[in-house]
Amino acid sequence: MALFGNASVRLKLILASILGSGTALLVFGAVITGFDLMALRARLVRRMTVQADIVGANCLSALLFNDQKSAEDTLAALKADPRILGAGLYTADRKLFATYLRDPASGARVMDEALGDAGEGHLLMRDRLRLSRSVLFNGAAAGTVVILCDLREITESLTRDVVVFGSVLLTSLLLALAISSRLQRDITQPILHLAATARRVSQDKDYSVRATGDRRGEIGALVVAFNEMLEEIRQQEAALRGAQDELEQRVVERTAQLQAANGELEAFSYSVSHDLRAPIRHIAGFAEILEADGAGLNEAGRRHLKKIAQAAARMGELIDDLLVFSRMGRSELQAATVSLADLLKEVLKEAQPDVQRPIDWRIDPLPTVHGDAAMLRLVFANLVSNAMKYTAKSEHPRIEIGVDRDEDREVVIRVRDNGVGFDMAYVSKLFGVFQRLHRADEFEGTGIGLANVRRIINRHGGRTWAEGELGHGAAFYFSLPKVKESTT
């Protein structure tokens, strides 16, 4: 099993050495065979040339004295050489004078009747060699001898070569296989061990394990480096764990601090809700009483009183809003499946639109989401009340509420109105606490509504943003992430 797991490396090593030696041998063999072939051919040509010369010399007299029979008898002596397929003697005017055919039954046309323009020399054809030699008499050509012989000598020799070479190759490859098979172990063994060690370390997460083995050579260097790496990892891991523990400790401390702070905040807002409100009520109350009583005040005095009452009332509103805002941040998110459509319906019912100025409501179907119903209702309440407030001065107020985008990961709801809108230059202030883009006498409100919306949506993991144009209305968007239901 271990062998198979490492087969590719092993195989590569063995293949490499076999291919190496095999290629070398093949190249060598090919070259040798090539040279051999050339030598064999040359030798054959030489031998045949000699034969041709001999037979030609022997035929000279027959040629000169026009004795065809004698010439044929002489040519027939070539029978002794089994390689020779046939021979021909041509006269000085290139006509066939005498022939010899080894196998008369076969190719009767072995010899051409006329010599043609083939001069002295040899022509190596596919399966035979054709050799012409001039028969000289006193330096001049008295005729030509043409010998045809087969190449069996060459092919036999080559075949022998190839067989020998083939068996040598096979033997050498087998030897190479055996040797490399043994030697590759030196390389693969430590690699295997290293791989096994690595696997063990990652499985058991035990960083005290070390690889063993020979430390010499490149593999050895790898083993040493591997061990060093493990030591590093072990140290890092220990340090990490230490840091983690420390962090957890700190988290515990911080959480305690946070909880303490939260508690303080709760106590604070609780006391604010009671203690701050009381004096404000008193101020407002007595100022109003004074106002009603007249109390001998002049015009200015009465106006001042009115302002006192108004200021106190305003302060009360602010405090109420602040309290709501803080509560939204502190209280538990009670997540449940919430039908936004139902929420909106409730909000709209309570919104008490002005009958005299009917609003064109365009409500699209809203999805069901995961969130805190009370908080989300507040979101709608704020957005709707804002929309209504800022379209109060419009001729034909129109408020659209619907889904802007419904994607895999989140759904985006849009509340759009065609009211007074706002200048996009101040868009960054819109969602700030107590930030307003209109004066109190233009539109009432404390500027906490959108801050609440943002706070609530952020707690749900969503985003809030807005677009608007002065005089052309505004659109408010909030996104709610979709929680993947793991169980139905």
Partner: protein, 151 residues
């Protein structure tokens, strides 16, 4: 019989007392109001002990209770009242500045009849008091044992 019945007002803040009485007076409901300044006095009155040992018999038709009072606070008073069979039926309206959820929850748990948050605007406060007074002080039939105006 729509006659004004006795109202017990438990409130520690002088200003609040004045404002509440003023609001009641504007609605001509201030005649039979007993004012106590803290939880101890409230219980003294209800048990007719201490400085109230000589008060006439009978429970108030409604108790207007503030929550934040020194010594014994409103919730304590409420708890005590509800625990005592002689008083547990007395209508109690918590009249407070606090809108805190836990106060709300605790109050109803202890069996309060109504919980009203004092509005900041005085006019609204007057309206609220009028409604409370007219209902609890005039319209509602108090439980048996409530004192009537002795002629």
């Amino acid at each position: 019989m729509s006659e004004l019945k006795r109202i017990l007002l438990a409130e520690d803040n002088e200003n609040d007392i004045e404002l509440t009485l003023k609001a009641l007076a504007e609605n001509r409901l201030a005649n039979e109001v007993i004012v106590v300044k803290d939880g101890v006095e409230a219980l003294d009155y209800l048990y007719r002990r201490g400085k109230f040992s000589s008060s006439p018999l009978g429970n108030p038709a409604v108790t207007l209770l503030d929550l934040k009072m020194p010594k014994v606070d409103g919730l304590e008073v409420l708890r005590t009242m509800r625990a005592d069979p002689k008083m547990h039926a007395i209508p109690v309206v918590i009249l407070t500045s606090s809108r805190e959820e836990r106060d709300l929850v605790e109050s109803y748990r202890l069996g309060v009849n109504a919980y009203v948050v004092k509005p900041v605007k005085f006019q609204q406060f007057v309206e609220a008091v009028k409604t409370l007074g007219l209902f609890w002080g005039v319209l509602n039939e108090p439980p048996v044992g409530s004192v009537r105006r002795v002629a």
